[in-house]
C-alpha cells in the first residue's frame, strides 16, 4: 500500500473514531433521558453548545487553561442539570403524555438559549475555538496526528466504557436499567423511580455537556453546531432504538465511520445525508430501532 493510500486510510479511521465517539456520547445522553424519564430533549443541541461556549469564555476571556475550563464547565453542567430538574423537569413527572409536554418545554428552552447565544456570542465572533489540552504531533505511519486529537479520542472512548460499566455494574446503573425496562415492576422491587428519573436526567445532560466540551476541544465551532448535533443525536437514538444506550453507541460509531467512508467514495455532501437516508429506511423496516432497550 502506498503512503498516500495509507494516509487516506488512517485519516478515515481517525475521523471515524473521534466523530463516532462524540456522536455516540451525545446520543447516549439523549437516549438515557428519553428511555428513563420519557423526555425527548429538544434542547440537547443547545446544552451541547452551551458547554462549548462556556469553555470558550473561560479560556479566551479569563485566560484559564483548557483543563481547568473543562472541569469547571463539567461541574457547572451538573449543577445546572440538577437545578433544571428541580425547577422544571420534576413538575411534569406525573403529567399524562408527558413526552409531549416535555418536548414542548424543551423546545421553549431551545428558543430561549438560542436567543441568548444569538444576542451575546454571535455578536462577539463568528467562530470559536479552544486551546488544545496538549500540544505536539505524533506520527502514526505516514500520518501526523495531533496529540490533542489522540487524547480526545482516548477520552471519548474511555467515557463510553465508563458509562457502560456504570450502567452494568453499579447499583444505580442497574436501577436505571430496571426503570428503562419497566417502571412499575422496578417500583414494586423497591426502586425509587423519581430518584432514578432525577439521576438519569442529570447523568444524560452531563454526558451531553461532556460531548460539547470534547467537540469544542477537537474542532472550531460556531452557533450552527447546536442544530446539527441535535438532529444527529435524535437520528442516532431513533435508529439505535429509543432508550438503548448500546444502540446509541453502535449507531453513533457507525455514523462516524459511514461519514468518513462515504466522503471518500462519494462526496462530503453525500456523507452528510447518508445517515439521514439510513434513518428513513430503518424507520420503514424497523420502527422500534435496531436494539431493544
Amino acid at each position: 500500500m502506498s503512503d498516500a493510500s495509507l494516509l487516506i486510510l488512517l485519516s478515515t479511521l481517525s475521523t471515524g473514531l473521534i466523530m463516532g465517539a462524540i456522536f455516540a456520547l451525545v446520543a447516549a445522553g439523549v437516549t438515557i433521558v428519553y428511555g428513563c424519564v420519557w423526555l425527548p430533549n429538544a434542547s440537547n443541541g443547545q446544552f451541547f453548545l452551551a458547554a462549548a461556549l462556556l469553555a470558550w469564555t473561560l479560556t479566551s476571556s479569563f485566560g484559564w487553561n483548557s483543563w481547568w475550563a473543562s472541569l469547571a464547565v463539567l461541574a457547572l453542567g451538573i449543577l445546572v442539570a440538577y437545578a433544571l430538574e428541580w425547577v422544571l423537569i420534576r413538575r411534569l413527572y406525573d403529567t399524562p403524555n408527558r413526552n409531549v409536554a416535555y418536548f414542548v418545554v424543551t423546545l421553549g428552552l431551545t428558543q430561549i438559549m438560542s436567543g441568548m447565544f444569538s444576542l451575546t456570542y454571535a455578536k462577539w465572533s463568528d467562530q470559536f475555538s479552544l486551546p488544545p489540552l496538549i500540544a505536539g504531533l505524533t506520527m502514526v505511519g505516514p500520518m501526523p496526528i495531533s496529540n490533542n486529537r489522540l487524547l480526545l479520542m482516548v477520552m471519548s472512548l474511555a467515557t463510553l466504557a465508563l458509562l457502560f460499566a456504570l450502567l452494568r455494574y453499579h447499583p444505580y446503573g442497574r436501577a436505571l436499567r430496571a426503570v428503562f425496562q419497566n417502571r412499575e415492576a422496578a417500583a414494586l422491587r423497591g426502586v425509587n423511580v423519581r430518584a432514578i428519573y432525577k439521576l438519569s436526567f442529570v447523568l444524560g445532560s452531563t454526558i451531553i455537556f461532556l460531548g460539547g466540551l470534547l467537540f469544542a476541544l477537537a474542532y472550531s465551532f460556531d452557533l450552527t453546531v447546536a442544530w446539527t448535533m441535535s438532529i444527529t443525536a435524535f437520528a442516532i437514538m431513533i435508529i439505535g432504538g429509543p432508550g438503548s444506550v448500546l444502540g446509541a453507541v453502535v449507531v453513533g460509531m457507525t455514523f462516524g465511520f459511514t461519514q468518513a467512508i462515504v466522503s471518500i467514495f462519494a462526496s462530503p455532501t453525500a456523507a452528510t445525508f447518508s445517515y439521514l437516508g439510513a434513518m428513513l429506511i430503518m424507520l420503514l423496516f424497523k420502527p422500534n430501532g435496531l436494539f431493544k432497550r
Partner: protein
C-alpha cells in the same frame, strides 16, 4: 408689584430661550435625511451586521458633527433583520411607507440582500449594499441597487490571476463549503484557472454543518498541490485550515479567498505565511491619513483592527453624503442618478469607487500575507498583490445564476 415684574421677566426669558432653541435647531439640523439600514444584528450573520453598524455609527457621527448633509443631519434608521429575508422585506416596506426613507442599505448577507433587491427595484428605492458579494445583486437591467463589495465570482478571478503571477502553471486544490458565497468564488476560479494555465488537482465541496475534513485533507495532501484554496463557512474554515496544517500542508500553500480580523485570529500563529484576499486591511501598503485614523479609532473602541466589513460600512455614509450633495436634494430618483454617476475614491484606502450601468463597482482585491498573529488583539500582514478589474471581465452573471 415686585412679584409681577419678576414673573414678566421670567416669562420673557422662557419665551426668548424657546425662540433661540427653535432658531438654532433649524440652522444646525433641519429635518434629518433618513436612510433605512436593515442589517443582521441577530441570527447566524449577527457578527457581520454588528461589526458593520460599528463602522456606520462612527462615520455618521463624524458627518453630523461636521454639519451633516445639505445642512441636515444624516440619520440611519437601523433595523435588525435577524438574518431573515422575510423580516428584512417587512422592514423595507415599513421604512419605505412609514418612515419615507430616501434609500435603503445595510445587508451583509447576500441572501437577505437578494430579498431586498426585488423590493428596491420594484419600488424604485435606491439601495446601496455595503457587504454582500453575490453577483446577481447587480445583474443586467439593475437600476436602483448599487454594490460596494466586488462580486464573489470576481474574487475567484482575482485569485487565479494572483496564483498565475506567483507560480505559473501551478497545481491547485479547492476545499470549500456549500454556501452561495463560496460557490460563486469557486465558479470564478474554475472559469479563470485554465485561462491562467492553472490545473485544479482536487475539488472538495462540503455541506453546511460539516465539522471534519481530515479525510479530504489527506486526499489533498496525496494530490500534491502547489496551493490549496480554503473557504469554509463559519468555524469550518478554521477546521479545514488546521486539518491541512496537521497533515503537513505548509502555511505558504494555503490561500483564503477572503479574511476578516476574527478569521485571522482564528487561523492563528500556525498560519503565518499563508495568504488571504481582502478589500481593506490595516496592513495595506497605501492607506490614506483618514484610513489610518479610522483604524486607530476603531481599534481603540473595539479592541481589534477593523476589516473590510467595518470599512465598507464606514464608507457607506460618506458615499451617501457625496451622492446627496451631488443630487442637491433627497429626491429618490435624483439620488439614484447621482449614485450611478459617482466617480470618487474610497477615502480610507484611495481605491476608486464608480458603478457600472448595473450598479456593480469597479472591482479590486488585495492579497495579504500573514506575518504574525498576536492572540486576539492584533496581527501583522503584508500586501503581496493588488488587482483591479472590470466587473464583467469574466461572464459573472452566466457563471452564477
Amino acid at each position: 408689584m415686585k412679584s409681577s415684574a419678576l414673573s414678566r421677566v421670567a416669562r420673557y426669558l422662557v419665551a426668548g430661550s424657546v425662540a433661540l432653541t427653535a432658531v438654532s435647531g433649524m440652522a444646525q439640523t433641519g429635518n434629518p435625511i433618513k436612510i433605512g439600514f436593515i442589517t443582521e444584528l441577530t441570527g447566524p450573520w449577527a457578527f457581520f451586521g454588528t461589526s458593520c453598524v460599528a463602522g456606520l455609527k462612527m462615520a455618521t457621527d463624524e458627518i453630523n458633527k461636521a454639519g451633516g448633509v445639505l445642512k441636515r443631519p444624516l440619520e440611519f434608521i437601523i433595523q435588525d433583520n435577524q438574518t431573515n429575508s422575510s423580516l428584512a422585506l417587512a422592514s423595507a416596506r415599513n421604512l419605505d411607507i412609514n418612515d419615507k426613507v430616501v434609500a435603503l442599505s445595510g445587508p451583509t448577507s447576500s441572501d437577505v440582500a437578494l430579498a431586498l433587491y426585488g423590493y428596491a427595484e420594484q419600488q424604485r428605492l435606491p439601495m446601496l449594499v455595503p457587504v454582500a458579494a453575490f453577483p446577481q445583486l447587480t445583474k443586467p437591467g439593475t437600476k436602483y441597487t448599487f454594490r460596494i463589495e466586488p462580486s464573489a465570482v470576481g474574487w475567484g478571478y482575482a485569485m487565479a490571476k494572483f496564483i498565475e503571477q506567483r507560480k505559473p502553471g501551478a497545481k491547485v486544490a479547492l476545499m470549500h463549503s456549500d454556501a452561495a458565497l463560496m460557490r460563486a468564488i469557486m465558479a470564478g476560479f474554475r472559469y479563470q484557472a485554465p485561462r491562467s494555465k492553472l490545473t485544479i488537482v482536487s475539488d472538495f465541496l462540503f455541506p453546511q454543518g460539516s465539522s471534519d475534513a481530515t479525510v479530504q485533507a489527506a486526499q489533498v495532501k496525496a494530490a500534491n498541490p502547489d496551493y490549496v484554496i480554503v473557504s469554509g463557512a463559519g468555524a469550518f474554515d478554521n477546521v479545514l485550515t488546521n486539518q491541512l496544517l496537521d497533515l503537513g500542508i505548509k502555511p505558504e500553500q494555503i490561500i483564503h479567498p477572503y479574511g476578516i480580523t476574527t478569521q485571522v485570529f482564528g487561523w492563528g500563529s500556525r498560519s503565518v505565511g499563508s495568504i488571504y484576499g481582502t478589500f481593506f486591511d490595516h496592513g495595506l501598503d497605501k492607506l490614506t491619513e483618514e484610513g489610518k485614523s479610522f483604524i486607530a479609532r476603531f481599534d481603540a473602541a473595539a479592541g481589534r483592527p477593523p476589516s473590510y466589513v467595518e470599512n465598507y460600512c464606514y464608507v457607506t455614509p460618506y458615499i451617501f453624503k457625496q451622492a446627496l450633495e451631488a443630487a442637491g436634494t433627497d429626491d429618490r430618483e435624483k439620488l439614484r442618478n447621482a449614485l450611478s454617476q459617482l466617480k470618487t475614491k474610497e477615502f480610507t484606502s484611495g481605491v476608486p469607487i464608480e458603478f457600472d450601468k448595473n450598479g456593480a463597482r469597479k472591482e479590486y482585491m488585495y492579497f495579504m500575507e500573514i506575518l504574525s498573529v498576536d492572540g486576539k488583539r492584533t496581527y501583522k500582514s503584508k500586501q503581496q498583490y493588488y488587482i483591479e478589474w472590470d466587473p464583467e471581465v469574466i461572464p459573472v452573471y452566466d457563471l452564477v445564476k
